[in-house]
Amino acid sequence: MPDESDVEARHAADDGSVAGESHGRSLRDLVRALTRPSASQILLAAVLLVFGVGVGTQLTTKAADDPYATARRADLIQLLDTANAETSRLETEIEALKATRDKLQSGVDSAKVAQTEAQNRLDNLAILNGTVPATGPGIRVVIYDPSQKVTASTLLDAIEEFRDAGAEVIEINDSIRVVASTWFGGANGALVADNAAISLPLVIDVIGEGHALEEAARFRGGLVSQVQQFGGTVTITQESTVSITAVRALPQNRYARPA
């Protein structure tokens, strides 16, 4: 600061308070000046006191306040704008993620419903086709026919009556599963169902509502009265659990396809 030095030099010359030394001082002079205080240093001390108070105040302000307290309005506005922009950007992101989550959730739900439906239909069809064992309440019909006069048509009539009464699964002699395509044939005493010989006594297991099924066999002109005409006997027991284990291979359709 050459200008100020000049000014100070001129002032000092006017004031005459400068020590009379020719030019330049050393560290030793500074130490001497500090250790031997003179009256002229009072003003210097006063100025330094003011400076010290300012520094101390600033130090405590800096330490006590948060950094935003001394920030300028423009900077604060910019900070606020940045924060707002960030907030709206994050909110948009939240919305998008929520929408994705909802979509995925509903997708999972509908897939579950569809799977349950498909499983139900599969179970139904499997029981109907006789490809799986089945269990449930029903009746057990045992036909004793010593004269061997029960014909295939008698048996078919009985099966049809059971079906009308709501039979869901029918099995003959614990080995033949009766399904939609089952046929009956053979001469008296050598009955055949689905190419399998039916041995005597004849046992029919039926799953369905027990009382209705029993009535379907006992009505006048039904299975029981027909067999009694031949001199045979029929015993019908309602059971809470009829277990049908005979299954049947699913025939492959050669021509029909689902439409």
Binding site: E4, S5, G56
Partner: protein, 110 residues
């Protein structure tokens, strides 16, 4: 001796009393302190040069501080406050380094 004692007492007073600054002044105090530092270094250099005057020092001290604060204040009014305060700090910093270099030469002759 008085001077250094006064400086220490002043800092202690500022820290212990915690004078509450008017909110309008909080942005100017750091600039004022830098300006005061510049005046102090200038005074020390003048002392080593043998041209020191306590009255000149007192006047230059307060005028330096006031002008620095005034520049930043005007900058705030016309919307370039932060830039101007940076400019003032840079200029004062350069002057402080220059004066420090002169003081160093006076003390160590190097």
């Amino acid at each position: 001796m008085f001077a250094i004692l006064a400086l220490l007492i002043g800092i202690a007073l500022g820290i212990w009393l915690e004078p509450s600054l008017p909110t309008g002044l909080t942005t100017y105090l750091p600039i004022m302190i830098v300006a005061a530092l510049d005046a102090l270094f200038g005074a020390l250099r003048a002392w080593f040069d043998g041209t020191f005057s306590d009255r000149v020092f007192a006047v230059s001290f307060f005028s330096n501080v006031l002008i620095a604060a005034l520049i930043v204040f005007i900058g705030d009014q016309i919307g370039v406050g932060s830039q101007l305060s940076t400019a003032v700090v840079v200029v004062l910093g350069i002057r402080i380094f220059t004066n420090a270099a002169a003081i160093r030469r006076a003390i160590f002759h190097a």
